[in-house]
């Protein structure tokens, strides 16, 4: 049986935020209240461990909205199981950023 990755509390919060639909760095920062120097390095580590994957927004969409394209992060299958394990470990995690509520907002 493969050992589940042990996430730090910050990494678990960021993973929860991405799962809740805050899919780019600045939105994760805004909603978690963490500084950029914490969020972006954590995103690199999560991507390195294949818990999230990144994808650039299509240029045409960004051009239509007169803004630069964004880099979006998506949670992977491994990231999903890691998040489940983190929720068991940190029960308050779901209350911090409830997925349903976040998706409604």
């Amino acid at each position: 049986m493969a050992q589940e990755p042990q996430l730090s509390h910050t990494a678990a919060m960021i993973l929860q935020a991405i799962d809740a639909g805050f899919v780019y760095g600045f939105s994760v920062m805004e909603n978690l209240g963490l500084p950029s120097g914490t969020v972006y390095p954590a995103l690199r580590r999560l991507e390195r461990d294949a818990l999230i994957r990144s994808q650039w927004e299509k240029q045409s969409i960004a051009d239509a909205e007169l803004r630069p394209p964004r880099k979006y992060y998506r949670i992977t299958a491994a990231g999903g199981s890691a998040l489940e394990a983190a929720r068991r470990r940190y029960p308050l995690l779901e209350r911090l950023l409830p997925v349903e509520e976040a998706r409604r907002s």
């Binding site: 914490t38 394209p69 964004r70």
Partner: protein, 485 residues
């Protein structure tokens, strides 16, 4: 003000981007600029009309992110490159050789003496005369009778002559007898050499006198400063101690721990030794090449073929036999190997300045260590078994320095040519590509690969006007899956 701040933030991001790995730098900077745009829009919306540092604080977060990127994806190979191919291993091996050479040089007495030759000064025009058949200086060569005949005759070329011979003699120290190598020499021997004494004086005297080496003075007499004038027994004779010779001063052929100075007619007959002579100033030209050949006749009319070595020429230290061969090796290097490292003109990718500087520093460090090795190893090998004056050792040092310099420089260039410019690991897995008959129609040569997946190296089998030097092909991230661990 906000416009100035925005420009400063963009410059700050560009500067921090230099810390990110070069292959991910553009994407990293693009993401941060995009995020900054959104941060600025939000902060302008909330604090219109006043200076807001939110975006600036946001930019400061780029620094730990760039460092994290460097740590994760840094300049190291994406796969585990064998340690023996890495740049650090190469420098480590060179450093070990260099340190071993210096360590030996620090503990080998002959090598120490040779390295500190500059402290040793003799009179200009001083020469050592020995038999041509014993030019290595390993054995006594001139009969004392020949020296006596010589010293008694009118001298055309020499201002002064002195004879010495090394014999193992019984030396009584503290009531105990010890067999020590003792030099039996003419009374004027040290005044002719002009060597300064540590204590006392070695001026000529009609009475036999003893000069002690620094080693024996410290070991057997506890460095007693009142040793001068004390009577000791050497062989069958009682002699007084006149002086102590400083450590490393004795650089003539033959090991010696003490010197017995006695009148010429008191030196026992039958043995052979060496002659030290002071040339007249108008005769110095005769040994301008540091060595000359002369013939001498003894009382029975036998001819002796002798070498005259300029002793002052041989007290310049090992540096004299270092710079010339290194310079010669640098001269012949372009004739032995191509000094072009690679064909940069065809490369479409420009390496970052930091990588280029690292490449140059690595090459310079390698050359510096080779220069150190080609100095110390020949000195160690040439002088480890000699004591002082050794013409053959000087020649050996010259030849070894020349050979090691040529080999070292050729190796350094060849090694640098086969190191990936990105990670400095040696390329591997050579593969023949193309066939010889298609050299002028297609490509024919050897292809090598960086184990980290950064580059391929193409080496043409036959250098042509359009492909004469090795070419690096930089691999982009799409190749990375091939090299995944």
């Amino acid at each position: 003000m906000n416009r100035f701040l925005a420009a400063a933030e963009d410059r700050l991001l560009c500067a921090i981007a230099l810390l990110a790995p070069s292959d991910r730098r553009a994407e990293w900077l693009r993401e941060w600029r995009s995020e900054l745009w959104h941060v600025c829009r939000c902060s302008h919306r909330s604090t219109a009309g006043s200076v807001d540092l939110t975006s600036f604080r946001f930019c400061l977060g780029a620094l730990p992110d760039a460092l994290e990127m460097r740590r994760i994806y840094g300049t190291t190979c994406t796969t585990r490159t064998p340690i023996h191919r890495s740049a650090s291993y190469c420098l480590l091996i060179l450093a070990v050789i260099l340190v071993a050479g210096w360590a030996f040089a620090l503990y080998s007495r002959p090598v120490i003496a040779e390295r500190h030759t500059e402290r040793y000064t003799v009179r200009p025009g001083l020469v050592l005369i020995l038999n041509a058949h014993a030019a290595s200086g390993a054995m006594n060569s001139i009969p004392v009778e020949l020296y006596r005949k010589w010293a008694g005759a009118h001298q055309k070329y020499f201002d002064g002559l002195a004879f010495y011979r090394v014999e193992r003699t019984v030396f009584f120290i503290g009531g105990r007898a010890a067999h020590l190598p003792i030099v039996h020499s003419s009374a004027q021997f040290f005044s002719l050499l002009g060597l300064p004494m540590e204590i006392g004086s070695a001026a000529p005297s009609s009475e036999p006198r003893l000069i002690l080496s620094d080693l024996i003075w410290r070991r057997n007499f506890n460095a007693d400063p009142r040793i001068l004038g004390r009577t000791v027994r050497v062989g069958e004779r009682l002699v007084s101690v006149a002086a102590v010779l400083p450590d490393g001063s004795w650089r003539l052929p033959g090991e010696a721990e003490a010197w017995l100075l006695e009148p010429d007619n008191a030196i026992s007959s039958g043995g052979a030794g060496y002659v030290v002579a002071q040339l007249k100033p108008d005769s110095w030209y005769a040994i301008r090449n540091s060595v000359a050949n002369i013939a001498a006749y003894d009382a029975k009319g036998n001819e002796h073929n002798l070498w005259v070595f300029s002793f002052s020429e041989r007290t310049n230290g090992p540096w004299r036999d270092y710079f010339v061969p290194v310079f010669l090796a640098l001269l012949v290097l372009p004739g032995l190997t191509s000094v072009f490292l690679s064909d940069k003109a065809v490369s479409t990718i420009r390496l970052s300045w930091s990588r280029r500087v690292v490449c140059c520093v690595f090459g310079a460090a390698k050359i510096a260590m080779i220069l150190g090795i080609v100095y110390i190893l020949p000195v160690d090998l040439a002088y480890c078994c000699t004591s002082g004056f050794a013409p053959a050792s000087s020649c050996l040092q010259f030849l070894l320095t020349l050979a090691l310099s040529i080999f070292g420089f050729c190796w350094a260039v060849a090694d640098q040519r086969k190191r990936c410019p990105v990670c400095l690991c040696r390329v591997a897995h050579p593969a023949r590509v193309g066939i010889a008959s298609r050299t002028f129609l297609a490509w024919n040569g050897t292809e090598l690969m960086c184990m980290g997946g950064h580059t391929l190296l193409y080496i043409p089998a036959v250098p042509t006007s359009w492909f004469y030097a090795p070419r690096w092909v930089y691999l982009d991230t799409s190749w990375k899956f091939l090299f995944a661990a």
